[in-house]
């Protein structure tokens, strides 16, 4: 006789617990709903923050070479990377708070942040 895969009560409990964990962790990770206003670029030993409203191309060095991140028109994307798979480039444009891409071989992590500009800087001098 053919039986359903989730035939026993604790199987269903296991599935529910698993899904709840995913939902809880998602809420924790993407709970930040502030308007996107900055790009955070992290390397092994430093973290750089760039405002999202100023167009530029940032060159970041990692263990296997330089990764180029383009910020243009309120969006950011990786345009060049020395890695093999180019997953970071394939991710395409990032424009929502919490959106991210990473180049694992080059240990570079790009993420859109919200609510940073404005309360992140006390004063600016030119």
């Amino acid at each position: 006789m053919r039986r359903l895969p989730l035939s026993k009560p604790l199987d269903i409990v296991a599935l529910i617990v698993s899904i709840l964990t995913v939902v809880a962790v998602s809420a924790f990770a993407f709970g930040d709903r502030a308007e996107p206003d900055a790009v955070s670029i992290e390397t092994d030993d430093a973290r750089f923050l760039y405002p999202l409203d100023q167009d530029r191309v940032v060159t970041v060095g990692g263990p296997i070479g330089d990764t180029l991140v383009e910020i243009r028109g309120g969006r950011a994307r990786v345009i060049e990377s020395p890695c093999r798979d180019k997953i970071c480039i394939l991710t395409g444009h990032l424009d929502a708070t919490g959106a991210w891409t990473a180049c694992l071989p080059n240990r570079i992590f790009v993420r859109i942040e919200g609510g940073v500009v404005g309360d992140g800087v006390d004063a600016q001098t030119f």
């Binding site: 989730l6 296991a14 899904i19 992290e42 997953i87």
Partner: protein, 178 residues
Amino acid sequence: MRTDTRERRLDLVAFMGALCLFFSTLEYLFPKPVPFFRLGLANIPVLLALELFSPGYVLLLVALKVVGQGLVNGTLASYVFLFSAAGSIASALVMLAVHRAGRRWISLVGVSLFGSLASNVVQISLSVTFIFGSTAWVIAPAFLGIGVASGLVVGVFAKRFAERSRWFARMKEAIGGA
């Protein structure tokens, strides 16, 4: 007579360790849309082992699996190996516990889901603590989500196999079951 069964069990553990190695290799067939994606096919022998062996033999098999995967993936000498070892051991302990506690209430599908969850939670905690800092949280939902899906697939496969395989039934009989 007793030593005979013991030897058979060890033989079978060794064989299933080899199966883990084979499944780890087989994973290369599947495309990797994201770097941390893994189906976890090598957990199938471990799930089956829960039905066959006492906890000591299951842990022995997990040790073989961890070392085998390290060899196949080339991570044996890197920190990734520690992640994988910690995940596998946590998942084995959880699976042993739930499998023992609720045999009437839970099938290999649920056991697999709990095991996958344990392994992923441990690995995420480790990466938050030691490697990537709080940025690892951003990767966590996808990582866990994939874990649920693959845990389900692997669990259903193991369950079907345990129910239908004549080889499995013969082995179970030969070594007396868990």
